[in-house]
Amino acid sequence: MALLNVRYYSSVLGLSTTATVILPQAASGQIGMAGAAAGGRLPTLYLLHGLTDDDSIWQRRTSIERYVAELPLAVVMPTVHRGWYTDQADGYRYFTHIADELPQVMGSFFPLSQRREDTYAAGLSMGGYGAFKLALRRPERFGAAASLSGALDVGAEPGDLGDDWRRTFSTVERSRENGDDLIDLVHAADPTATPRLWAWCGTEDFLLPHNHRFRDAAADAGVGMEYHESPGTHEWGAWDREIQRVLAWLPLSR
């Protein structure tokens, strides 16, 4: 595998920013590995960090590179700082950046497939929210999305996040109008067009109620979703373990 640190410019954010990327490396004589020279295009997982993290966190806290080593898969890990993968009321347009600009920019650097069936999103906590928002607002672009301990009901307890929340979402009403409320989005979703969804949460995690509410809303809406819980809290040991199950679940042709 190759591990790349990509410092690039986002005109949507008006910022220089960074992403960490994992690419398979074609060993000499190894057939079947996609590469730009061969015209092959890689299935791509957009793997999202949580609140307080950055683009380096997955690689530092887990063995993600080792887990994808045998897979024909590129992994793109962007950073949104405390941006909630949202076009913030008072801040930056992180949703537009992640949903639209990032795939286009990364696609210009690397041989990434642009096909829906080859494009996936996953994330932890704030990143689980981000992954599901990508799936529900860009269902034509993503084939599958996974949430690990996702903050899936941001409309529920705005007080928890204080000023940050208001700067990002403004009000509960605005968050619904702007397509930032996942419960709302899943109720309005077309079940036949929704990407495959997968979620896990630890039973001791403070976000368990968020996950229950989303699971139930998806069931009400007839949106298919694979849901799991098991003993665990909001910590990296759990995500290091669960990301492996996500990778096994992705609809990759192997």
Binding site: V6, R7, Y9, A26, A27, S28, A36, A37, V105
Partner: protein, 253 residues
């Protein structure tokens, strides 16, 4: 521009290694122009000197600013103290540079594989490496440039004796293994060669080596764009000269 650090595995060297790559972007941050991006990028392989690494060019010059607005990728490998040579001890740095690196980088990035889009340049040990690559793989490069090149290193076994011997063996070994760039240019078919460019500072301790190369080219009828100006073997000189190299590259449009 995007500045990319690539940690990748070299099967040829049996080592994890790093390369630094600059890719153009349509839009750039304040103060630097964007570029229209061709589907397959012209590429400059830019080589470091002895004691340096893949980050040296970007750390010590404003290279990224100079290439902003150019439809050009820059690939900077790390080769330690190898003189871009297949070593007497078995480490095959020339093969790594000439074959493995471009192939791996084309697997990661949309780089052109065409001769007319492929260039090499370097400073000091990298100037020697650039000329060696151009003379040994003339069908793969359209242009090669040496800045303060150690172009007669294989004629100077006493310059750093122990390492020299481990790298080159003996002067006759070096010639037989096509490591002697002065010898290569004397035997070259000048019609098939890339365009060549060399500069050296007049206060540089390696000045004689560039002049030896210049004279060998003249003797062999090999065209060489050669210049000297006040300057030493240091980064201010290379920061000043690399824009001239970029300007000289035969980039279309």
């Amino acid at each position: 521009m995007a500045l990319i650090s690539v940690r990748w595995f070299s099967e040829v060297l049996g080592l994890s290694t790093t390369a630094t790559v600059i890719l153009p972007q349509q839009d750039n941050e304040a103060g630097v122009p964007g570029a229209a991006i061709p589907e397959r990028l012209p590429t400059l392989y830019l080589l470091h000197g002895l004691s340096q690494d893949d980050a040296s060019w970007t750390r010590h010059t404003a290279l990224e600013r100079y290439v902003a607005g150019m439809p050009l990728a820059v690939v900077m490998p790390a080769v330690h103290r190898s003189y871009y040579a297949n070593q007497a001890d078995g480490s095959r740095y020339f093969e790594h540079l000439a074959e493995e690196l471009p192939e791996a980088m084309r697997g990661f990035f949309p780089l052109s594989g065409l001769r007319e889009d492929t260039f090499v340049a370097g400073l000091s040990m990298g100037g020697y490496g650039a000329m060696k690559l151009a003379l040994r793989r003339p069908e793969r490069f359209a242009a090669a440039a040496s800045l303060s090149g150690g172009l007669d290193v294989t004629g100077k076994p006493n310059s750093y004796p122990e390492e020299w011997r481990r790298t080159f063996g003996s002067p006759s070994d070096a010639r037989d293994a096509h490591e002697n760039v002065i010898d290569l240019v004397r035997r070259a078919d000048s019609a098939s060669l890339p365009r060549l460019w060399a500069w050296c500072g007049t206060e540089d301790f390696l000045l004689e080596e560039s002049r030896t190369f210049r004279d060998a080219c003249a003797g062999a009828g090999v065209p060489l764009e050669y210049s000297e100006s006040p300057g030493a073997h240091d980064w201010p000189a290379w920061d000043e000269q690399i824009p001239r190299v970029l300007d000289w590259l035969p980039l279309s449009g």
